[in-house]
Amino acid sequence: MERSLQRDSIPTNRIERYMARMPSLPVTVNRVMEICNSPSTSPYDLNRVISLDPVLTGQVLRLVNSAYYGLRNEVTSLPRAIIMLGMNTIKNLVVSSAILSTMSGRDDVHALDMDAFWLHSLSAAVAAKRLAACIKIPAENQEEYFVGGLLHDLGKIPLNSLFPSEYAEIMAEAPQKGTDLCEKERKFLGIDHTQVGGMIAEKWKLGVAIEDCLRLHHESLSASERNVDRVRIVALADLCARRFGPDNAGTCCFDEEAVDMMRLALSIDQTDLDDLRETMADEIEKAMIFLHIAGGDHGDKD
């Protein structure tokens, strides 16, 4: 029998409370601690380790875009945030997120394999940046596409942590196609990960462009005119990460038709997509070396 939560009973305040103290991903924790506890922390390493973790990236951008700074335009660049906030504030912030991660424990039974989640997020980030280059986005703006890809599934983390048994059922039932997963989430929990992602982006003031990436990557035709290309790039990056990414091993369902539609809408050549596989593999390998973690078989995950 399905155990679904009633729509009215979805405790969005629980999600909001969780958002305020969201743990970093287990895969980055050790390296975060190592870098932050070094007496001579390199800003380059600090930037790198944060940019490999969607939660840390979101938290740093949240702080710099909060009332903390009186900014007129959102900051979507980590290096900029690091200089504005200073190394100590950033180190304190990311260490607190990392500590929360160690406290939540790697062995908790959650539906989402967090290592696979990390691989998928990073694959989508790498793909989004590469695809942005394909449509001639200037180099200085390509990092924003990386961030959009990195953060696109952030909404899954609160759902997975707050409703572990329900989410396990959702993951067991949902075919590995994004739209179906959203339907299942809404059916079981009354809310889906794109809506939760939109809540996070809104609450953390990550800006409309990133908010649209989180909220609309499964319905990229709904994006506003201003952000339509960005959302489509992230949506295509998500699909490509599922197809080519190491989190997937190419075994899950893959919507060829959706990819073609998106690719044509963005005027991206098939050969550019073919090149993505190698780019993603290279970048994942570099990230693993940087994080001092071993590679290997990462299974078949969403």
Binding site: S42, P43, Y44, N47, Q59, L63, S66, A67, Y68, Y69, G70, S77, P79, R80, I82, I83, M84, G86, M87, N88, T89, N92, L93, S96, A139, E140, E143
Partner: protein, 308 residues
């Protein structure tokens, strides 16, 4: 009318009493400002200088009925908060002490840091035992109407902890506090030959630092007085003191001169700096003026009073 300012502590880092600091003073930073027709009291920072200020208030203002005090903390490093438990008005029943300070990524961090001093392990009075009420007001960047014609603008500064610059405006006069402050820096490798050089990071780092420094200058531009961190000389700064969060006298003067500042008080004197050394620096850098063309530059001295 206007604004009157008194320096109760001008030293940086740690109280430095002794025969070598008698003339400029050894107490860490605390300023008293009296603003407008209402003679509104504003205190900036609670370094060791706040003890004498508290005693002075007890003898006059508190006896005359003062029951609300506003303290604006620039940041929570020890030298700026260590005098707070010795601030006598805290022990007056019916007194409300409002602590204003920079917001942080942590919730209620001001209360944790300032209230946290009142524990038996640090001090013989617990916060629950205080006769006064302490309220905490966390500020982001912005503009705030403090009432009685007093306006406050805030700007984040570059220091190894969240640190706020304050600009107070009243009766057409203004003064700004810019401490503790080191100019924003590009933290990323700028040398093309460096092993960690990344062109995008280097460019973004340079642009961001320059932009933030411009914003700090805009924040204090046109003020009748700025009170600015100048702990080092340029030579000292470039000798293993980069990243410590403080400015060099020469850099501060240059920046202020280009921004229509009328008077510049240099503060946060290094604890190792003797009176004679400050006199020597004053001989080199002091100028008298108080107009847009010729800026008055002086080294702040404990007990000094200025009327704007």
């Amino acid at each position: 009318m206007g604004i009157r300012i008194k320096f109760w502590g001008v030293r940086g880092s740690i109280p430095s009493p002794g025969p070598d600091t008698v003339r400029y003073g050894g107490n860490t930073i605390c300023l008293e400002a009296r603003c407008g027709k209402a003679d509104r009291l504003v205190i900036i920072d609670a370094g060791s200088g706040i003890r004498s200020l508290g005693n002075s208030l007890m003898a006059a203002d508190v006896a005359d009925g003062l029951r609300e005090v506003d303290i604006f903390l620039t940041h929570t490093h020890w030298d700026h908060i260590l005098g707070f438990p010795f601030f006598a008005p805290l022990y007056i029943p019916g007194m409300t002490v409002r602590i204003h300070g920079s917001s942080s990524y942590e919730e209620n961090h001001l209360e944790k840091v300032i209230g946290g001093q009142f524990m038996y392990r640090y001090f013989p009075v617990r916060v629950e035992e205080l006769a006064s009420i302490i309220e905490y007001v966390e500020l982001g960047e912005g503009a705030f109407d403090l009432g009685e014609g007093l306006l406050l603008r805030t700007k984040r500064l570059n220091h190894p902890v969240s640190c706020m610059g304050y600009r107070f405006e009243c009766d057409g006069k203004s003064f700004a506090t810019v401490f503790d402050m080191e100019p924003f820096q590009n933290l990323f490798e700028a040398e093309k030959s460096g092993s960690a050089f990344d062109e995008r990071l280097a460019r973004e780092g340079e642009e961001t630092a320059a932009e933030q420094n411009r914003l700090v200058e805009t924040f204090y531009a046109g003020a009748d007085l700025i009170i600015h961190d100048a702990q080092y000389t340029r030579r000292e700064y470039h000798t293993a003191r980069k990243g410590w969060g403080h400015s060099a006298v020469e850099d501060v003067i240059e920046a202020a001169q280009g921004n229509r500042v009328k008077r510049l008080a240099l503060i946060h004197h290094d604890p190792e700096r003797t009176d004679d050394q400050i006199d020597e620096l004053a001989g080199k850098f002091h100028t008298e003026g108080s107009s847009d063309e010729v800026m008055d530059v002086f080294f702040a001295r404990e007990g000094m009073e200025i009327t704007l």
